[in-house]
């Protein structure tokens, strides 16, 4: 599974390098909707799903806050050895894996260079999560989910559902929703002048 997923990223990079055509954003959105729809059906088919959702809402909230704090704090600390300021290092990680949005927002609000750093850093987060999730899920499912950041509701939701139980998949989707809503907000707070 892991090899399959990593090679599809690598194959994509190769094709993108040598072929030139545009993949429309609408097509990507439709594919994302389909994925989320299918995972939704799988979770919904579970017995007692409503009760489980109720139990899991506080867990989703705590989990999301911890992912945000952990990411920002630990990335900020890298400012001691990367030559970035605390604010820059923290901001570059604030996409939580959502590379397209964070790269563009930081380029606009702050500097194109830090935007590129953030873009790359968030791609690395997503690719690293493909490796981390199957391995770490045996030790801690929430820990494994946290590495996916905001992508736990879309691209990595399939991988998570294959490696964790249904409660954790539900938490992963919730974490993805809350983080995706927070990312634009956090980046504007860190880099906004007004």
């Amino acid at each position: 599974m892991m090899v399959l997923l990593l090679s599809s990223v690598a194959f994509g990079i190769l094709c993108g390098r040598f072929l030139s055509f545009e993949i429309s954003d609408t097509a990507i959105t439709v594919i994302l909707m389909l994925l989320v729809f299918v995972v939704g059906i799988e979770i919904g088919s579970e017995e007692g799903i409503l009760k489980r959702m109720k139990i899991n809402i506080p867990v989703i909230l705590v989990q999301s806050v911890l992912v945000i704090c952990g990411t920002l704090l630990f990335s900020g600390i890298t400012s001691f050895f990367t030559g970035f300021s605390f604010k820059e290092a923290m901001g570059a990680s604030a996409g939580m894996g959502w590379y397209s949005l964070s790269g563009i927002m930081i380029s606009e609000l702050y500097s194109p260079f830090l935007g590129a750093v953030s873009f790359t850093s968030n791609i690395i987060r997503e690719v690293a999560s493909i490796l981390i999730i199957p391995i770490f899920a045996r030790f801690s499912q929430l820990g494994a989910i946290s590495s996916a950041g905001a992508t736990s509701m879309d691209t990595l939701l399939g991988l998570i559902s294959k490696n964790t139980d249904k409660d954790s998949t539900l938490i992963a989707f919730g974490q993805g929703v809350i983080l995706s809503l927070s990312v634009p907000l956090i980046i504007s707070v860190i880099f906004g002048q007004r």
Binding site: L35, V36, T71, T155
Partner: protein, 97 residues
């Protein structure tokens, strides 16, 4: 886009609750779609020539930032999970999709 995804998830959940769509699990749809999405992600990185040229310069700091961000969130959430399982709701479901 976020709204569209949320709506698709909720529709999926509701349809799943009718228990009429369990046959969908037989096809490896989730894996197939994930492979496709990651291919698209790779494709977008590959077609960005400017990013490729800058990569040696920004790669290392991006890696350091990504790794510490991941470690930070994994550390806090793992501790949270262990505390939660120990003192509050014992999570004994081990079923995998």
């Amino acid at each position: 886009m976020l709204l569209l995804i949320l709506i698709s998830f909720i529709i999926g959940l509701l349809l799943g609750m009718t228990k009429k769509f369990e046959f969908i699990k037989k096809y490896k749809l989730v894996t197939i779609i994930t492979v496709f999405l990651l291919f698209i992600m790779g494709f977008e990185i590959g077609s960005d020539g400017e990013l490729f040229d800058k990569l040696p310069e920004i790669g290392i700091s991006a890696l350091v930032i990504a790794v510490s961000g991941i470690l930070g969130s994994m550390f806090l959430t793992t501790v949270f999970e262990k505390i939660k399982n120990r003192f509050f709701l014992k999570n004994n479901s081990s079923d995998k999709i």
